[in-house]
């Protein structure tokens, strides 16, 4: 039977929602699922992890060095914790992508990145070529299966569990060659584009940097993150960290609202796992309508204010 260890992502206070998605993947593999929380303290994070449905045990590894997510510090401990487990999983977020290959190399194991589907306990599907092909790979059983979980492909597991929280020690010599300095967060207070459940994106059709205010206003009304097509970024309407698509961010929100975006293939690659795609465009033949669940043809400068008024009525 599989014995699976999922590494929790958190900020010291809150459990990141990507963890529950990784647990869903673990449950699809089957067997016993434990969650490891490496933190300075981690009590609150452990309490949240213990509620995840299907989790058997929560392992709390508390030491001051674990206060910041430095892969060089966490990986040696995770390699120790992995003893006795058949599988080691982490969400394929920047946290997991940074951390897990380091642990895999310490274990001498190859890694399966971005698991989107479990075929059996050792066989998985993952995207390659920016999602333009799907490969099925089989991982060796020894020393253990190491994989990151593509969060866009998995729903969060539910709550209602009551796992036991156990304090464990993962004695490993920790390096001093890597030091955390700071995290600079977006000062706008808008949700993070990569993980936001709702995203409003603007394209070339928005027309100018000034006009983009209409996109921000709607996004704020919906509590959504703001994104943009490459055309809008190249035209200088918005900074390039808002770019959604093959060469920008690949996202999977519950709601994606594309405004004035024609839908070039490279943009569609970045949004195809969104649960609901809404397109607003004045060109009825725009390619975006071929993938949108709901389309509305018209002038965005009339539609968006009207949409805001309708949302206010709710």
């Amino acid at each position: 039977m599989s014995k699976i260890l999922v590494i929790a992502e958190h900020d010291g206070e809150k459990l990141n929602s990507s963890t529950a998605r990784a647990v869903s993947c673990a449950l699809a593999i089957g067997g016993e699922v434990d969650v490891a929380v490496l933190a300075a303290d981690g009590q609150a994070v452990c309490a949240a992890a213990a509620k995840l449905k299907g989790v058997k045990r929560v392992l709390r590894v508390a030491r001051p060095e674990n206060g910041k997510p430095l892969a060089a510090v966490l990986a040696p401990q995770i390699a120790k914790l992995a003893a006795g487990y058949t599988h080691l999983l982490a969400p394929s977020t920047t946290f997991g992508k940074d951390l897990l290959p380091r642990a895999a190399a310490l274990l001498g194991a190859p890694q399966v990145s971005d698991v989107m589907k479990v075929v059996d306990a050792h066989t998985f599907q993952r995207p390659i070529y920016a999602g333009n092909a799907i490969v099925t790979v089989k991982a060796p059983e020894q020393p253990c299966v190491v994989a990151t979980v593509r969060t866009a492909s998995w729903q969060a597991c539910g709550e209602g569990g009551a796992a036991a929280v156990t304090d464990v020690a993962a004695d490993a010599a920790l390096p001093s060659h890597s030091r955390y300095v700071e995290l600079k967060q977006d000062a706008t207070g808008r949700p993070d584009l990569q993980s936001a459940p709702r995203v409003v994106s603007g394209g070339r059709g928005v027309g100018s940097k000034e006009n983009f205010a209409i996109v921000y206003t709607l996004a704020d009304k919906l509590g959504a993150a703001v994104g943009a097509s490459r055309a809008a970024v190249d035209a200088g309407f918005v900074p390039n960290d808002l770019q959604v698509g093959q060469t920008g961010k690949i996202i999977a929100p519950d709601l994606y609202l594309a405004v004035g975006i024609s839908g070039a293939i490279q943009h569609l690659t970045g949004i195809k796992d969104a649960r609901t795609i809404v397109a607003i465009n004045k060109d009825p033949d725009a390619p975006i309508f071929q993938v949108a669940d709901i389309g509305l043809v018209g002038d965005l400068f009339q539609i968006l204010p009207e949409l805001e008024r309708e949302l206010d009525k709710l």
């Binding site: 900020d11 430095l70 892969a71 060089a72 990986a75 920047t94 946290f95 992508k97 940074d98 951390l99 290959p101 642990a103 190399a105 310490l106 194991a109 190859p110 890694q111 990145s113 971005d114 066989t123 390659i128 070529y129 333009n132 092909a133 799907i134 490969v135 099925t136 790979v137 089989k138 991982a139 060796p140 060659h177 890597s178 030091r179 300095v181 600079k184 977006d186 993070d192 990569q194 993980s195 919906l222 390039n240 960290d241 920008g248 519950d254 195809k272 649960r275 609901t276 809404v278 009825p284 309508f289 071929q290 993938v291 709901i294 389309g295 509305l296 009207e306 949409l307 309708e310 709710l314």
Partner: protein, 249 residues
């Protein structure tokens, strides 16, 4: 100081990949091959460190068949001082690539290894982290800014929550994100000059690196297609449908 830069040859980013009908792989016959875009950014960053006046030798390294020399010549034309090709006809997965780069980093006594954060063919995003682990040195992945101060690097990393700044001691491994820099174009005179720069080739078998455990590729398939829905006639109808789908609650 010595900076090693990883150069992987991949299918050019403009090529639309087709999966073979029998599911045995993707069509690679006759497609354009180029340097992985993230690796170009890695090389550009190494060149910029050198151009800031730091005494540095920039060595481009690759793993692959003999004709990857072509991409290494491009790297030399961009400005690398010399190049090393570890020759093998076999596909090399990240753990194996990390073991090979470790051997080169040791032989070259490297101070800094810069790699792309991922290759745009297998999209693994592993090699830099694995190399750093095996080398027992720091890693600074997904870099969008790199500042060298004596024997320390201050690196800004693009993480989901924003921009994270870390400080690492050299030797170290850095992996590049898109916004680190814009790689230079290669000029004709540089292409001519690159022809006389040293390019060493080593057979993988002679390197003394043990084969790493690997994933078995079972089959390939095209991605599931998303089918379009329908159009609505009014904003009211749009809002109603969003409500019905439960995405506004």
């Amino acid at each position: 100081m010595k900076i090693l830069v990883g150069i992987k040859r991949v299918v050019d980013f403009n090529v639309r990949i087709q999966v073979k009908k029998d599911g045995s792989g993707v069509e690679l016959g006759g497609v354009k091959l180029s340097i992985n875009p993230f690796d170009e950014i890695a090389l550009e960053e190494a060149l910029r460190i050198r151009e800031k006046g730091v005494q540095a030798e920039v060595v481009a390294m690759s793993i692959g068949p003999t004709d990857v020399q072509q991409q290494l010549r491009t790297a030399l034309a961009m400005g690398a001082d010399r190049a090393i090709l570890v020759e093998t006809a076999d596909a090399v997965q990240p753990l194996m690539a990390a073991r090979i780069f470790l051997e080169l980093a040791k032989r070259e006594d490297a101070d800094l290894v810069i790699l792309g954060k991922q290759a745009i063919d297998d999209d693994c995003n592993q090699t830099g982290q694995m190399l750093a682990a095996l080398w027992d040195r720091p890693q600074a992945t997904f870099a969008s800014a790199v500042e060298l101060k004596h024997k320390t690097l201050r690196v800004t990393r693009e993480v989901d929550a924003g921009l994270e700044v870390i400080e690492v001691d050299l030797p170290a491994v850095v992996t590049t994100d898109l916004r680190l820099n814009t790689p230079r174009f290669v000029k004709m005179p540089d292409i001519m000059k690159a022809k006389s720069k040293p390019l060493a080739t080593l057979k993988l078998a002679e390197l003394g690196v043990a084969a790493a455990p690997a994933l078995q590729q079972v089959s390939y398939a095209p991605p599931p297609q998303r089918s379009g829905g329908h159009k609505v006639e009014s904003v009211q109808a749009l809002v109603k449908e969003l409500q019905d789908r439960g995405v506004l609650s």
